[in-house]
């Protein structure tokens, strides 16, 4: 049971959603946009968040698109992860989505929620970082399309009152060779010790990671080293690990040493499979 009360709004358009947020903010309701809602419900149940109102954006048509516009794949932020995997327009994203939570939970978790979540793994963002996707964001200033690298810096950097409407990805990225590897402490469901998504474009390997540091990331420095053919694969991986953007996590899932060991093996396998 959720021990707090909040109001529930169900706008049918982007403008209604934005206006609702502004109205509710003005009235000190601490509104939150609500997609799949799984994190909001679980955090609210434990009294960790206290929204005075939630704005359910699932009825907004633009948030439910899964189609091509010319050579661009357009994915609405309210598409569920299971729907993404079922339709499979972007195989690497499907694999990332399939690694999140479990099948039933993925019937509720949305693409937008997975990217914006407080839980730091946010694994669905990895393929989008590799494919240089663009985020369509709505807010009081209107609708803007922004390169993901400009707004996803460790986490989504949305202004107050903004929400993700869609994610746009160029078709050319969808069929490139890729690897997705999620390593857990135990079993097939749960948070990762290491998740690696890799994609090969123009004979260069791009890599993005979750579970290694306290945020998901793609590092051009790491990619530079991993694609340095003058080094052996082992040398490349060792140098890549030296270039991690933050301390390696040390928690009940795994120690720093163990995570680095798993990370090293995972990258080596990816290099081997992708011919790096």
């Amino acid at each position: 049971m959720i021990p707090i009360d909040f109001e529930y709004y169900r706008p049918a358009s982007i403008s209604e959603a934005v206006e609702s947020f502004q109205y509710l903010s003005k009235h000190k309701k601490n509104p939150m946009y609500y997609g799949g809602g799984t994190e909001i419900i679980t955090w609210a149940r434990t009294n960790a968040i206290h929204p005075g109102a939630v704005i359910d954006i699932k009825l907004i048509p633009e948030c439910n698109v899964m189609d091509f516009a010319g050579n661009t794949l357009v994915l609405g932020s309210c598409i569920t992860l299971s729907a993404l995997s079922m339709v499979n327009p972007f195989p690497l994203l499907s694999e990332s989505a399939t690694g999140v939570a479990d099948q039933t939970a993925r019937n509720k978790i949305t693409l937008g929620g997975s990217i914006c979540g407080r839980i730091h793994f946010r694994e669905a963002v990895l393929p989008l970082l590799l494919a240089d996707s663009r985020m369509v964001i709505a807010g009081s200033q209107g609708i803007r399309e922004v390169p993901i690298h400009d707004v996803f810096l460790q986490q989504m950097r949305l202004a107050v009152g903004e929400f993700i409407v869609q994610v746009n990805t160029d078709r050319k990225y969808l069929s490139l060779p890729f690897i997705h590897s999620k390593r857990r402490q135990i079993g097939n469901v749960g948070y990762p010790l290491v998740t690696l998504a890799a994609l090969k474009k123009d004979n260069r390997i791009r890599t993005a990671f979750s579970g290694v540091c306290a945020f998901p990331f793609r590092s051009l420095e790491i990619e530079q080293v991993l694609n340095d053919k003058a080094l052996t694969p082992t040398e490349r991986v060792d140098q890549a690990i030296d270039k991690l953007p933050a301390p390696v996590l040390n928690d009940t899932e795994g120690s720093v040493g163990y995570r680095k060991f798993v990370l090293k093996q995972t990258i080596l396998e990816a290099l081997s499979k992708l011919g790096g």
């Binding site: 049971m1 169900r10 206006e19 149940r45 039933t104 939970a105 097939n188």
Partner: protein, 165 residues
Amino acid sequence: MPPMEFFDSATYSIQFQVNSEWRKVRIRAADTLLDALREGLGLTGSKSGCDNGDCGTCTILVNGLPIKSCIMLAVEADGQQITTIEGLTNSPMLQAFAEKQAFQCGYCTPGFIVNCHGLLNILPDADDETIRIWLESNICRCTSYEEIREAVKSVFLAHSTDGVP
């Protein structure tokens, strides 16, 4: 205030179809669907386990799709079709669980049955790997997994040998 559908923090009446019957229930906007089913409608077959979307014992079908009712607000179900374990009393999946004794304490059983019933309807030709992936959504603390897997597979096998396309 923009004109739109909203539910404030007082109680409201919503309506959804539960096990083929339209039912009204009064809820808070912050009530989960599990709360509404158990406390509002007395449908206690859906169990409260982790209340965190992990264990799957509260699984119900929303428009045929398995959903953990502890991580869905009741207001989201307004106007939708809900199936709970009470609506599956004569289903092949429930009978298979009984015949194969695919339970010990039985607390997780409704969630498993509802989830697998949903799988049978959505993917009647599901292969072993798909069945395995879907079964990962539910946890059995008594570890009856082998019997559960056997029960589920027996239903899919019967379904395929019956010649149902």
